[in-house]
């Protein structure tokens, strides 16, 4: 029998102090029965000889100190894992909310997981075709990578994420594939958008959804991505599946963490976020990867909205310090009705080089990637100059680059959310655009490739 305590002596924000306890362990799961009979859960944040500080997932609203009963459950927060999770929808704490049956777990796992031994990792190198040119062509995603989308409020990051979930595939394989979707503090409509999109495309049959909505308990959000990644590790490393994990919105996650931290009166770091935000985020993001001797993989696409579109804000900043590149959406591009509004210049996939080229995509990929990129950079500069000094100030070459950069936005980036392009289509489109530029300006492409793809010149 588990002991029951009625010794709650302090409640501040989402925290509760229980005194006169014994045998309590750090990170232990706690069950609280309120005077109304309602049950809530929490976990032990700190434990002393006779008291325990408990973080309440559902918050402390309405808790009566005198009549509340507390039981310590003798285990950390866990998720029951099973292949039957696929196709199901859970709340942010891992309870089914789709009216389906309870999951009969093969095993229950601590949601914090264990660190992957760096010696056990395999370097990500398999090309994932997302069907989005600005990603596949210029910021290539590979299996086992963590590549976040940095967005802003009101930008269509959800549409892009759903598009990737729908279209992502590894060429020439029919390996088992799953999508895990974790929503933290997004609105009902946003969640519905994803669920409907997954239903329509049939992706739901290979998806697991964990949903914590904006009006769900804030503190629950701290657990949601860990639930999702525990499921992902099970499917990837026990069931051999290739798992794509979408986490949205990491900004809400970090805000929940800040709430707990400030209730604990911890010394705040930048903008009030706790000093351990980096470590905490990396314990989520580093759960992506491939490991030796296991067939599956975990690829992560975390989404975050940058407060005030500020990339130096701690959430995008610390994320960028952990992930392997970033895809950046731009309000300015979005306002020009270009979708998905990916700004390719500051975007970068740091693992792209190992995923492209002969045998993976095509031999011209690396060369054209650099040339297209350099061309856009020069085109943008030229356009900027022409807004200051007028078009007449531009040389013929610069004019060509300016035209090229417009065409790039219009044709390459602006494919919409429902066009699925093969990598060959993307690469060919790249060549089409490069034809706008004088051939002698294509300095980053070898002569042999120019001859082959543009035809020989005499």
């Amino acid at each position: 029998m588990l002991k029951e305590y009625q010794t709650v002596t302090e409640i501040t924000g989402p925290l509760m102090l229980v005194t006169d306890v014994s045998g309590v362990k750090y990170e232990e799961l706690v069950e609280i029965q309120m005077q109304t009979g309602e049950k809530r859960r929490g976990k032990v944040l700190e434990v002393g000889t006779d008291n325990a500080l408990v973080q309440l997932f559902e918050g402390s609203d309405g808790i009566n100190m005198k009549n509340t009963k507390v039981r310590f459950l003798g285990k950390p927060q866990e998720l029951g894992v099973s292949p039957d999770m696929i196709g199901r929808v859970f709340d942010g704490m891992g309870n089914p909310i789709d009216n389906g049956p309870q999951i009969i777990a093969d095993e229950r796992r601590d949601i914090n997981g264990l660190p992957i031994n760096p010696f056990a990792r395999l370097y990500p190198s398999e090309f994932i075709q997302t069907g989005v040119s600005a990603i596949d062509g210029l910021n290539t995603l590979v299996r086992g990578q963590k590549l976040p989308i940095f967005s802003g409020s009101g930008l269509p990051h959800n549409q892009l994420a759903a598009q990737i979930a729908r279209q992502a595939q590894v060429l020439g394989t029919d390996e088992k594939f799953a999508v895990i979707f974790a929503a933290m503090g997004i609105t009902f409509e946003e969640a519905e958008f994803f669920i409907n999109d997954f239903r329509e495309s049939g992706a739901i049959d290979r998806a697991v959804l964990f949903i914590n909505l904006a009006n769900d308990p804030t503190i629950e959000r701290v657990s949601t991505p860990r639930m999702a990644l525990t499921a992902a590790e099970y499917l990837a490393f026990d069931e051999g599946m290739h798992v794509l994990v979408i986490l949205t919105d990491m900004t809400n996650y970090a805000d929940a963490l800040r709430e707990v931290s400030s209730a604990r009166k911890e010394v705040p770091g930048r903008r009030g976020y706790p000093g351990y935000l980096y470590t905490d985020l990396s314990q989520i993001y580093e759960r992506a990867g491939r490991v030796k001797g296991k067939a599956g993989s975990i690829t992560q696409i975390p989404i975050l909205t940058m407060p005030e579109d500020d990339i130096t804000h701690p959430i995008p900043d610390l994320t960028g310090y952990i992930t392997e590149g970033q895809i950046i959406l731009s309000r300015e591009i979005y306002n020009r009705n270009i979708n998905p509004p990916i700004n390719v210049l500051p975007s970068l996939s740091r693992l792209k080089d190992k995923g492209i080229g002969e045998g993976k995509t095509r031999k011209d990929h690396a060369n054209t990637m650099n040339q297209i990129y350099a061309g856009v950079a020069r085109g943008r500069d030229a356009k900027e100059l022409s807004t200051i000094l007028g078009e007449s100030a531009l040389s013929d070459d610069d004019l060509a680059f300016a035209r090229y950069s417009d065409a790039f936005d219009e044709r390459y980036v602006n494919q919409g959310f429902y066009t699925d392009r093969t990598i060959i289509e993307t690469l060919d489109l790249g060549w089409d655009l490069l034809k706008i530029l004088p051939r002698e300006e294509l300095k980053r492409i070898s002569d042999a490739l120019l001859d082959e793809f543009l035809g020989k010149v005499d």
């Binding site: 997981g113 130096t312 740091r350």
Partner: protein, 586 residues
């Protein structure tokens, strides 16, 4: 011995009472899981302990047992080519024990107990020896001979010493009744002893142009690389590990990405070290405490690495240590400090941040080693710094810059425009410049420092000229000034930029650096002369030889005659242009 009892658990920090027999900094075993921890504070019989593994499931009432020893590393043959975690557990062994995830409470000895090494004595029975004297050698790898030194605290007459095949724990010699094995243990938080420090004057050649030419670091010196995310800190650290002419490399991945360590594990064995002709891995020790591994061990990883570095320094080797990223170490300090409820300083960092940073970098240096042969060894420390938002005014960057002698400032604007390495040539500095200049001018080429100064002044002038261009356009500049812009651009694009991922460009010897600089500046001189003789800047810009200059970075190390070819072609092209101009004018 009396056992301690846990009274509090707060993440990686626990408190235990009944600890009066333990010493501050002792390593302890915590709870049933036997988690490894270290005492960081003592108050009467209460110890505050930082635990190097996750403390989930640990609670008050459980036991703490001290080992009576401070946190130490094992030093001896078998470290090279190894990858350790922050407290020197061999990660390959942990993989064998617990698979892809690191379980709690598992451990393995840092040095293989069963491996047999060939010991060749160089001292003899009857010799009087003292700490640091060399007893003999073990060929640790193809390129490194490990010296078995008399450990600190041991001295007297050698009573027995014999060549033979030994395991690390076997006694290879007896000195005044004391057995000496191939292992030395040393507490990581204390620097290893030496006779005295010497001023660092020799450059560490890194094969990276912007570093060797403009901002060199001396062997035994200190350098920092601050920069925002994605600006190229890790790539530079990898480049230094790959190409620097140090005898030994210690690479510490401190709170960074797991995949980056995998990258190192895949790549380094394949790289042929230009200094030895053998695989790079033969001289590398890796320490990996990635960001998802326990935060307290991250704090220790820096000390584990630097102690291993000092051990090879003590044998008379030049050692280069890279720590990526020291900010993560400082954050670990901050986290423990917060849990200890210490008075927070700037941005929550403890007040002692500055002194900890200084203590760490002070372990670098050129030293006269212990031992009667008066050998010298050096330890160079190069730390990456990850300032939040790229803001260099933050505490970790500031305390680092107060102590290091070289600052390689990475710049968001440069990395954004894909100028790599994104080291800003106007804000970076090296306080070793004068000493290194003297060394290079005397030993390699007497014109080198002049070339460098000329190039730097062009780069500096470029900035003010560009200001003018932005305001009133290029055409208002004199031809000489426009030429300066042209040459500065060439310096930036053809010299400062260096592609780490190109097979040839990735490494550039000092000789090649000099030839490249010479060509760019010779072009500049000829062009100046040409302008006087009436050439237009546009013509100069379009000269054919410029294409060859932009491609000179791809000239292999054994085809330097091509530089001469380019020079000849350049002079011919200038002559023709000038002749044409004179013919037209006539």
């Amino acid at each position: 011995m009396k056992k301690g009892v846990i009274t509090k658990v707060s993440g990686p920090l626990i408190e235990a009472v009944n600890m009066e027999n333990a010493n501050i900094h002792d390593v302890v075993e915590v709870a049933e899981y036997k988690l490894i921890g270290e005492i960081i504070e003592m108050r009467r019989d209460k110890a505050s302990i930082q635990v190097y593994e996750e403390t989930t499931g640990v609670g008050p009432g459980e036991q703490v047992v001290t080992t009576g020893m401070p946190l130490s590393v094992e030093l001896g043959p078998g470290m090279l080519g190894q990858i350790y975690d922050g407290i020197q557990r061999p990660l390959n062994e942990l993989y064998d024990l617990s698979g892809e995830f690191i379980d709690r409470g598992i451990t393995a000895p840092p040095l293989d107990r069963n491996k047999v090494w060939r010991f060749e004595p160089s001292a003899q029975v009857g010799d009087e020896v003292k700490p640091g004297d060399i007893l003999g050698t073990v060929k640790e790898t193809e390129v490194i001979t490990l010296k078995i030194m008399v450990p600190p605290g041991v001295e007297g007459k050698i009573e027995r010493i014999e060549a033979g095949d030994y395991k690390v724990e076997d006694s290879v010699a007896t000195i005044s009744g004391q057995d000496v094995t191939m292992i030395q243990r040393w507490p990581v938080r204390r620097g290893r002893p030496y006779q005295n420090k010497i001023d660092p004057v020799r450059p560490l050649m890194t094969g990276q142009r912007v570093i060797d030419t403009f901002f060199p670091v001396a062997k035994g010196g200190t350098a920092a690389i601050p920069g925002p995310f994605g600006s190229g800190k890790t790539v530079i650290q990898h480049q230094l590990a790959k190409w620097a002419d140090a005898d030994i490399i210690v690479y510490i991945g401190c709170g960074e990405r797991g995949n980056e360590m995998t990258d190192v594990l895949n790549e380094f064995p394949e790289i042929i070290d230009p200094n030895t002709g053998k695989s790079l891995m033969e001289k590398v020790v890796l320490i990996a405490n990635t960001s998802n591994m326990p935060v307290a061990a991250r704090e220790a990883s820096i000390y584990t690495g630097v102690t291993i570095g000092e051990f090879y320094r003590d044998m008379g080797y030049s050692v280069a240590l890279m720590a990526d990223s020291t900010s993560r170490w400082a954050e670990a300090l901050r986290e423990m400090s917060g849990r200890l409820e210490e008075m927070p300083g700037d941005e929550g960092y403890p007040a002692y941040l500055g002194s900890r940073v200084a203590d760490f970098y002070e372990r670098a240096g050129v030293v006269n080693c212990l031992g009667s042969d008066n050998r010298t060894g050096s330890l160079t420390i190069i730390g990456a710094v990850s300032p939040p938002g790229g803001d260099l005014s933050e505490p970790v960057t500031q305390s680092t810059l107060r102590i290091v002698k070289v600052f390689w400032g990475l710049d968001y604007a440069l990395s954004h425009s894909r100028h790599f390495p994104a080291i800003n040539w106007l804000s970076s500095y090296s306080l070793y410049q004068d000493k290194v200049d003297r060394y290079i001018d005397e030993n390699i080429s007497d014109s080198f420092s002049d070339l460098r100064k000329q190039a730097m002044s062009l780069l500096q002038e470029e900035q003010s000229l560009q200001e003018i261009v932005r305001l009133v356009g290029q055409d208002t500049l004199s031809d000489e000034d426009q030429l300066k812009l042209l040459t500065a651009k060439s310096l930036r694009e053809d010299f400062l930029q260096q592609n780490a991922f190109d097979d040839i460009d990735t490494y550039c010897s000092l000789e090649k650096q000099k030839r490249m600089l010479e060509l760019i500046l010779t072009f500049h001189d000829h062009a100046l002369e040409g302008i006087v003789k009436g050439l237009y800047i546009r013509e100069i810009d379009r000269m054919k030889v410029r294409e060859r200059i932009t491609r000179m970075r791809f000239i292999p190390e054994d085809e330097f005659e091509k530089f001469e070819d380019i020079r000849v072609e350049m002079e011919a092209e200038f002559r023709t242009l000038i002749a044409d101009r004179e013919a037209q004018d006539a």
